[in-house]
């Protein structure tokens, strides 16, 4: 039996626990539910976003993340629960009084106004003095590298430029919260990468609390301070990217984020915080929370990330036959068939400088004994 | 919450007012259709169905049948003529040709009944265009009587409904994905076959819409039968005018309107039922 690693801190899923000082909470949702007809688009959502934090709402299409964003923005009103912005109750407050800034996927720039008028719109609506408007617009355009385009109409701009104008328009009013609704989905890959970096830099520099909606998990992992993973109207887990990646709270999060293999394991031991699952002769420590209620001896699904598998010798957990080896530039992805040991195809990664097994060859695979999660079979 | 539906009250009230106004006028027509007329006065007497039974008189029955027949005839002819026009309008590649067809087809819609109908008097009259042409070409010995006949009225009515039928058909054809026809073409079908098996069926809903609209419009026609029919060819509309405005027999005029409306709705319902197979096609 391998020595027990340091105590694993259980990760809260989503509930009414407070994890930040009240003064620092910029956005708070308490048990918010929204129904459309009979279907619940969002059920019992509890969320706290700290001031200056970059929080991502991540999930597949239709999961409710956009509904959540719309509830914070005030485009929708909840059926149950309360919404707070800067500790003020805003549940019934209409959008134009909430001091938020939003950027939509299709930018929604006013087609009949110039860039300057678009950006100045919010300031005019708030009755800011004309002289001050001109100054603030010029500043934000400079920050977004749009100087010189003030008199252009949106249709005369490229996609990337339009997005910057949308961002400038939202930021110039100094919103309490910045909401981004899949803003990069319409951009091509290269532009997307550079825009992501730019937005993150601006967010950090200005310190504006940002809530970002996306279905792209790699984007979420790279940009966020914390991620809320949502599926079928429920928040599954809230945590930092490493927490989400290494300690997924349930099967959905585990399979939605990153990649992994599902191995057949047997539950050896389970106590209050930790459990031990066994594949072959290898024992792996996993969090007990997802397995609560199960007794030792039952089969469980062990979820392992590709980088936690390696070619083994004496310490191998199981064997398999290599199906394909795919060259990825910096590494090789091996897809392995091991039907007796795994319920999915096994994916492992090996660095290029190591010897790559041929397709069809039989190999032995060892499992790293940390950072795995197990779930009841077939959840 | 007031904020959730800004402007609702202000914006819906005028619409309600107009809707109520319209409902009241129709209510008046309905109400008058079951009252007796007091000759020489605008007042009406007690409730009665006499107006409706009076309609069974052969004189009036004739008018009802003529009206129905004209509606059917006009709708069918408009469809046959309108389809090629609609097809050309949607499928031609030349922007100028498209605009030209559109303007030419749509302009008559906006000319007003009197101008449109009057022009046909000049064309169909004893000394008009058609007769002069045929006489000069020695195709006929003496002028044809086209005015004051069902033929003449039909021609003029088709001219009135053709634009709207064309526009409705064009709207339907425009929404057919050209990919369907390209697929048929790639499978070896010739243009005629493509048209009969793909285009025509998929434009089914447009055909039904066009036919019912032409039917309804023809039923409403007044100036055309009044001027081109000259009192010899009467539709329900003309009767209503003669009795309502001529004799101030509001009750009978009202009952004619009600009966006519009922007849139209029934006919259109029957038409749609009969055409259901082609209406149900989903493009």
């Amino acid at each position: 039996m391998s020595s027990m690693p340091a105590k694993l801190i259980p990760v809260p899923v989503s509930g009414p626990e407070v994890d930040a000082k009240p003064r620092d909470v910029a956005v708070r949702l308490d048990g918010v539910t929204k129904r459309f007809g009979d279907a619940a688009a969002l059920s019992e959502a509890w969320l706290q976003v700290s001031r200056g934090e970059f929080m991502t709402l991540l999930g597949p299409s239709g999961c409710g993340k956009t509904t959540l964003l719309n509830l914070i923005a005030g485009f929708l009103f909840p059926d149950n629960g309360e919404v707070f912005i800067d500790n003020a109750l805003v549940t019934d407050v209409p959008t134009f009084q909430r001091e938020i800034g939003i950027v939509f996927q299709n930018y929604a720039l006013f087609p009949h106004m110039t860039v300057a008028d678009n950006v100045a719109y919010g300031l005019k609506a708030r009755g800011v003095a004309r002289g001050e408007i001109a100054g603030r617009v010029a500043d934000v355009l400079a920050m977004m590298k749009l100087t010189g385009l003030e008199d252009r109409k949106p249709r005369q701009l490229s996609g990337g430029q339009q997005q910057r104008v949308a961002l400038a328009r939202a930021l110039v009013i100094r919103p309490k919260v910045l909401l981004l609704d899949e803003p990069f989905s319409a951009l091509d890959k290269n532009l997307r990468g550079s825009m992501q970096v730019e937005v993150k830099e601006i967010q950090r520099k200005l310190g504006v609390t940002t809530i970002f909606v996306t279905h792209d998990q790699s984007e979420a992992l790279s940009l966020s301070d914390r991620i809320a993973v949502i599926s079928e109207g429920r928040i599954r887990q809230i945590g930092t990217p490493p927490e989400i990646y290494r300690r997924p709270a349930d099967r959905f999060v585990a399979s939605f984020i990153g990649e992994g293999s599902v191995l057949r394991a047997r539950l050896d031991r389970i106590d209050e915080h930790l459990a031990v699952a066994r594949v072959g002769t290898t024992q792996v420590t996993v969090p007990a929370a997802p397995l609560s209620g199960l007794s030792p001896g039952v089969l469980v699904d062990l979820f392992v990330r590709p980088e936690k598998l390696r070619l083994g010798a004496g310490d191998a957990a199981f064997e398999g036959v290599v199906s394909t080896a795919i060259y990825q530039g910096d590494r090789v992805d091996l897809h392995i068939d091991a039907p007796h040991a795994a319920s999915t195809r096994v994916l492992m990664r090996i660095p290029c400088h190591e010897a790559v097994p041929q397709a069809g060859s039989r190999i032995a695979i060892a499992i790293g004994d940390t950072d795995a999660t197990a779930f009841p079979v077939g959840e | 919450m007031m904020q959730r539906r800004p402007f609702f009250g202000t914006f819906v009230t005028p619409g309600v007012v107009v809707a109520v106004l319209f409902a009241i006028t129709m209510g008046m027509v309905l109400q008058f259709s079951v009252r007796t007329q007091i000759p020489g006065s605008l007042d009406v007497g007690g409730l009665t169905f006499a107006n409706f039974t009076a309609m069974l008189h052969p004189l009036y029955a004739r008018v009802f049948l003529d009206t129905l027949w004209l509606c059917v005839l006009t709708a069918v002819i408009s469809l046959v003529l309108g389809y090629p026009l609609a097809y050309a309008l949607v499928r031609s590649h030349n922007a100028f040709v498209k605009s030209a067809i559109l303007i030419i087809t749509v302009t008559p819609l906006f000319l007003g009944e009197v101008v449109r109908t009057y022009s046909w008097i000049v064309v169909l009259g004893r000394n008009g265009f058609v007769n002069s042409l045929l006489l000069d070409l020695h195709l006929i010995a003496k002028p044809l009587e086209l005015l004051f006949t069902i033929t003449g009225v039909t021609i003029a009515l088709v001219h009135v409904t053709l634009p709207v039928v064309t526009v409705m058909l064009a709207a339907a054809i425009a929404h057919i994905d050209v990919a369907y026809e390209k697929a048929a073409e790639s499978l070896g079908a010739g243009p005629v076959r493509i048209f009969l098996t793909v285009t025509l069926p998929v434009s089914g809903p447009g055909i039904v819409a066009g036919l019912t609209t032409a039917f309804a419009w023809t039923f409403s026609a007044f100036a055309t039968p009044q001027l081109v029919g000259g009192g010899k060819v009467n539709m329900i509309s003309n009767l209503v005018y003669q009795l309502g405005l001529g004799n101030f027999n509001f009750p009978f005029a009202a009952s004619l309107s009600v009966a006519g409306l009922a007849l139209t709705f029934a006919s259109i319902a029957l038409l749609r039922m009969a055409l259901r197979p082609i209406e149900k096609v989903e493009p």
Binding site: P94, F96 | V29, G112, V122, L162, A216, Y241, G260, L261
Partner: protein, 272 residues
């Protein structure tokens, strides 16, 4: 080779058919156009001598002048009222749900299927019942009811084509609903509003049947005046007036097509 010939023949015969149908549509206008210049007072064809006297007569005939003036008043007032009522209701129709929505929509669109002579009769009876003389009020109200469906449809289509996110963004930037309406919604709806108004105006000006029922001697609109003229006189004055009508209408429509794209409004553009 044979396929190409028959395809060719098909295309050309198709073109001929379309041309023939277009000819049918244009025929009366052309004939009337030529007849209008006839020097003689008969409706003969072809005219032996040419003259402009019927145009002069048309423009100077008193009833036509008052008819034109009345028509202009009635049209401007009713299409403007119809624009405001129709645009407001289209807004509500597009965005809100409420109990009587379908009923109101049906009532307001009903004049499209109810014959104008029935609507005219109804207003005539109503006016008689409330002892209202056949003054401008009745005529304007009748026209509003008749042209409202067109305005309603035109504005509704424009609203549907409006990107809803634009108004949401404006709201998020702090604009109250009234500001959003005037700075975002209305400017973007302007083409739809204008084309709706234009079509309503043209239809109202040329409306005949219902007007025949509700107008009196003093409030006679131009089409009614023209009808009365034709019943009494058989000279080409009407032909001359018709020519003016046709040219004016075609020009207005070509103008509307250039700026607004008739195809879009009538929904005959290719689906994307």
């Amino acid at each position: 080779m044979r396929q190409r010939l028959s395809a060719h023949a098909l295309r050309w015969s198709g073109r001929l058919v379309v041309l023939a149908i277009l000819g049918f549509i244009v025929l009366p206008a052309v004939v009337v156009g030529i007849a209008a210049f006839n020097a003689k007072a008969l409706l003969t064809f072809p005219p032996q001598q040419l003259s402009l006297r019927w145009f002069v007569n048309a423009f100077t005939y008193a009833d036509f002048q008052t008819g034109f003036r009345n028509g202009l008043i009635v049209t401007l007032v009713s299409s403007s009222i119809a624009l405001v009522v129709g645009a407001a209701f289209a807004f509500v129709l597009d965005r809100y749900d409420f109990a009587t929505k379908r009923l109101l929509e049906t009532l307001l669109l009903a004049p499209l299927v109810v014959p104008h002579f029935t609507v005219g009769l109804g207003f005539l009876i109503l006016a008689a019942q409330v002892s209202m003389s056949r003054g401008y009020t009745v005529v304007v109200l009748c026209h509003v009811v008749l042209v409202l469906p067109f305005v309603l449809r035109s504005v509704y289509i424009s609203l549907r084509n409006l990107n809803p996110k634009l108004e949401l963004v404006a709201s998020s930037l702090g604009a109250r609903p009234t500001r959003v309406l005037f700075t975002v919604t209305l400017p973007l709806l302007a083409p739809g509003l204008f084309s709706g108004w234009l079509f309503a105006a043209i239809l109202s000006f040329n409306e005949f049947t219902a007007s025949l029922f509700v107008t009196g001697q003093k409030t006679q609109t131009l089409p009614v005046a023209m009808y009365n003229y034709v019943r009494e006189y058989a000279d080409p004055t009407m032909a001359a007036l018709s020519v003016v009508f046709i040219v004016a209408t075609a020009t207005l429509l070509a103008f509307a097509n250039m700026f607004l794209g008739l195809g879009k409004v009538l929904n005959v553009e290719h689906a994307r």
